[in-house]
């Protein structure tokens, strides 16, 4: 079971290690983790996607996160309205004659070709999980050579 949690934490060295350690010490896997500064430079925002067997483990994860001294707030997005997005960079097989087809496809998504040379192009796209999944399936026809994902970021409303 995958779940998205966000954390506001003190922006200090060692904090990331503490949070990562909390997961690794218990053998839980972090599916993705995105960290950045916030408007307040002494506070960082983290979006963590965790993989846990059941509800009880997730409860424990949240409590343990809350217990960490550098953690200011913990938000679980399961029961909270939110937007989540991920950015991907995709390297695809490319020939100029496909340009139109790819651009058409990308129009359906928030994506564009940001680089092309010879027989490859690099595409940048942003979307939620379902959109990214669909896009990747469609691009599969052209041949995906490489893929890099930022991991999910999420914000509540």
């Amino acid at each position: 079971m995958r779940r998205t949690i966000s954390l506001l934490v003190e922006n200090k060295f060692g904090v990331l290690a503490r949070i990562a350690g909390l997961f690794s010490a218990r053998g839980y896997n972090i599916a993705s983790l995105a960290v950045s500064e916030t408007l307040d430079p002494v506070v960082s925002y983290m979006t963590v996607v965790v993989e846990a067997e059941d509800e009880k483990i997730l409860e424990q994860i949240k409590k343990q996160l809350n217990k960490l001294i550098d953690v200011i707030t913990v938000t679980d997005f399961t029961k909270k309205e939110h937007i989540d997005r991920e950015m991907v960079l995709i390297k695809v097989d490319y020939s100029p004659k496909d340009k139109g087809k790819i651009e058409n496809l990308l129009n359906k998504y928030v994506g564009k070709i940001i680089y092309s040379k010879g027989d490859i192009a690099i595409i940048e796209a942003v979307g939620d999980q379902a959109q990214i999944k669909e896009l990747l399936e469609e691009l599969g026809k052209f041949g995906v050579k490489e893929l890099v994902r930022t991991g999910r970021v999420a914000v509540g409303y």
């Binding site: 003190e10 060295f13 060692g14 290690a17 424990q60 409590k63 809350n66 001294i69 953690v71």
Partner: protein, 556 residues
């Protein structure tokens, strides 16, 4: 006026009321040692950093104050880790100070460099690397605050030697604010009401008390509650001393080596009032079979302890002392427990704690005699193994902070240095370390520390020639294939004497009491080598992973 980092540290420690530091020197704490030269703070030079940490821990457990230890960088700091992990598992307030290589060398594999904040992250409540002298005073203040509040624990401060030598203004912040650290002390009134109601309706309630009782100083409130609702009380190893053993409502310890009656009572109860205890597997046994009819009220300062192992109907987060006193006030009608107490008494009669006396010196007898001779007024530290369980079972404790034992981590070598720390903190108390012949050899070098500093502790070695607890498991679960558990020791009497302490050897029952009396009278550290029955077992016993009423062995 500007002060050097080392002096800022010492000023801050004095402000925190520190009067003793247990530690060991080295290159990267030289500025601190130099500053100590002019200070009145008592520095006790142990013979190993692990012992310094355990001594600070024993001092903290016995006094309730924060214990302080100090070590140099690299190997000094890594030697502290067992002591930190021990304190962390048992929620002991402690501040450990380590030296670090100079700031510009950090990360360069400098001589005696180790990533100490990295190494100790999972075994401290919090830790700091001081990179800027301007932060030092505030960090010390925070460290003591974090170590001693909420669920207490060890905090480490790693100070590079150039920071110890840098200069800054000494600014002391009386008040500290840490926005993300705000322990909850007051229980939720609605939850307390709910608990009171559940208690009034219970037919077979039981109180299960843990180390939280000792930490929050809630022993009086615990007793008030038990007496008001006439409910039997059982406790964990960490809860020993939180409720008087000789009280008519007391059931003794529960769990793997708990009393049979405590285990039966908790299994048959319909309401468990758990206070400052965390449902450790040594207590619950097989979880899915644990207390099948019981509703659980769980009082704990650490929200992450609640519903971690068992599911809890009525959680109350906060300080045990506060919550218990409110709860007592909230209970309008005490439950009728007369039938229940009768049943419990029958169990007590049917399955009493006992051991067979057959001429050979029994370890249980030795512990009983220590109790008789000290009238239950001593501080008892233990090592780990059978000695620890016998010390828990056969000495009767009636005061908090009189039983010091590594519960969570089970650290052999803990008892002797912890006893030393306790004696430093409570010089008027008689302090015994009840030891195994294996465990005592793990920090035996502290004999020198005791003798040099005139720290008068008594060590009762229950010498069975084995790593007894391991042998017991091999006997019961590995067909008596005694692999690597026979252990020889030195001549403990001569060894003690060679350090300038006193050694006594006892192999006959009639010599036990006189030896203990003599040890108590002696104004020196005393090792008593009790040659006890080699293959005596700790009973009752519940095999690991069984339901806790599946009790094996013993006479019951």
């Amino acid at each position: 006026m500007k002060l050097k980092g080392a002096n800022i540290l010492l000023e801050a420690l004095k402000k925190e009321g520190v009067d003793v530091i247990f530690g060991y020197p080295g290159g990267q704490v030289l500025p601190i040692l130099d500053a100590l030269y002019d200070e009145k703070i008592n520095f006790i030079l142990t013979r190993h950093e692990q012992a310094a940490a355990h001594a600070a821990d024993g001092y903290a457990r016995a006094t309730g104050k924060v214990g302080v230890c100090l070590a140099t960088s690299g190997p000094g700091a890594t030697n502290l880790t067992t002591g930190l992990a021990t304190a962390y598992m048992d929620s002991i307030p402690m501040v450990a100070i380590t030296g670090q290589v100079k700031t510009h060398l950090i990360g360069n594999d400098a001589f005696q460099e180790a990533d100490v904040t990295g190494i100790t992250r999972p075994i401290t409540k919090y830790n700091y690397l001081v990179k800027d002298i301007k932060d030092l005073a505030r960090i010390v203040r925070e460290a003591f605050y974090v170590a001693s509040t909420g669920r207490p624990g060890p905090v480490l401060i790693d100070i590079p030697s150039d920071v110890q030598m840098a200069e800054a203004e000494f600014i002391w912040h009386e008040k500290i604010t840490m926005r993300s650290y705000k322990p909850t002390y007051v229980g939720h009134p609605g939850q307390i009401k709910k608990a009171a109601k559940a208690i009034s309706l219970a037919k077979r309630p039981i109180i299960y008390a843990g180390g939280g009782i000792i930490i929050s100083g809630a022993h009086k409130e615990l007793r008030d509650l038990a007496e008001k609702i006439k409910t039997p009380v059982t406790w964990t190893l960490m809860g020993i001393g939180g409720f008087p053993s000789k009280h008519e409502l007391s059931l003794g310890m529960l769990g793997m080596h708990g009393t049979a009656y405590a285990n039966h009572a908790i299994m048959e109860s319909d309401l468990i009032i758990a206070v400052g205890a965390r449902f450790d597997d040594r207590v619950t046994g097989r979880l899915d079979a644990f207390a099948p009819h019981a509703k659980i009220v769980h009082i704990d300062i650490d929200p992450s302890s609640i519903s971690k192992n068992v599911s809890v109907e009525i959680p109350i987060v906060g300080d045990a002392k506060n919550i218990l006193s409110e709860l007592v006030g909230e209970i309008k009608k005490a439950p009728d427990t007369s039938e229940w107490l009768k049943t419990v008494d029958e169990w007590k009669k049917k399955f009493p704690m006992q051991y067979k006396e057959d001429g050979i010196l029994k370890p249980q007898y030795v512990v009983e005699q220590i109790y008789e001779a000290t009238k239950g007024d001593a501080i008892i530290a233990t090592e780990v193994g059978q000695n620890q369980m016998w010390a828990a079972q056969w000495y009767q404790y009636s005061h908090p902070r009189t039983f010091l034992s590594s519960g969570g981590l089970g650290t052999m070598g803990y008892g002797f240095p912890a006893a030393m720390g306790a004696k430093v903190g409570c010089p008027d108390k008689i302090v015994f370390d009840i030891a195994g012949d294996g465990s005592i050899q793990m920090n035996i070098q502290e004999l020198a520390t005791c003798v040099c500093n005139k720290i008068n502790v008594k060590v009762a070695i229950l010498n069975n020639g084995y790593l007894g607890m391991v042998r017991q498991w091999q006997e019961l679960f590995y067909k008596r294939r005694y692999s690597q558990v026979s252990i020889t020791g030195p001549d403990f009497v001569k060894l003690a004497e060679s350090y300038g302490a006193v050694g006594i050897s006892v192999s006959k029952k009639e010599d036990v009491r006189p030896a203990i009396e003599k040890a108590i009278k002696t104004d020196n550290t005393v090792f008593i080598d009790f040659r006890v029955e080699a293959e005596e077992n700790v009973y009752p016993m519940v095999p690991a992973g069984e339901a806790i009423n599946k009790i094996i062995g013993g006479l019951a």
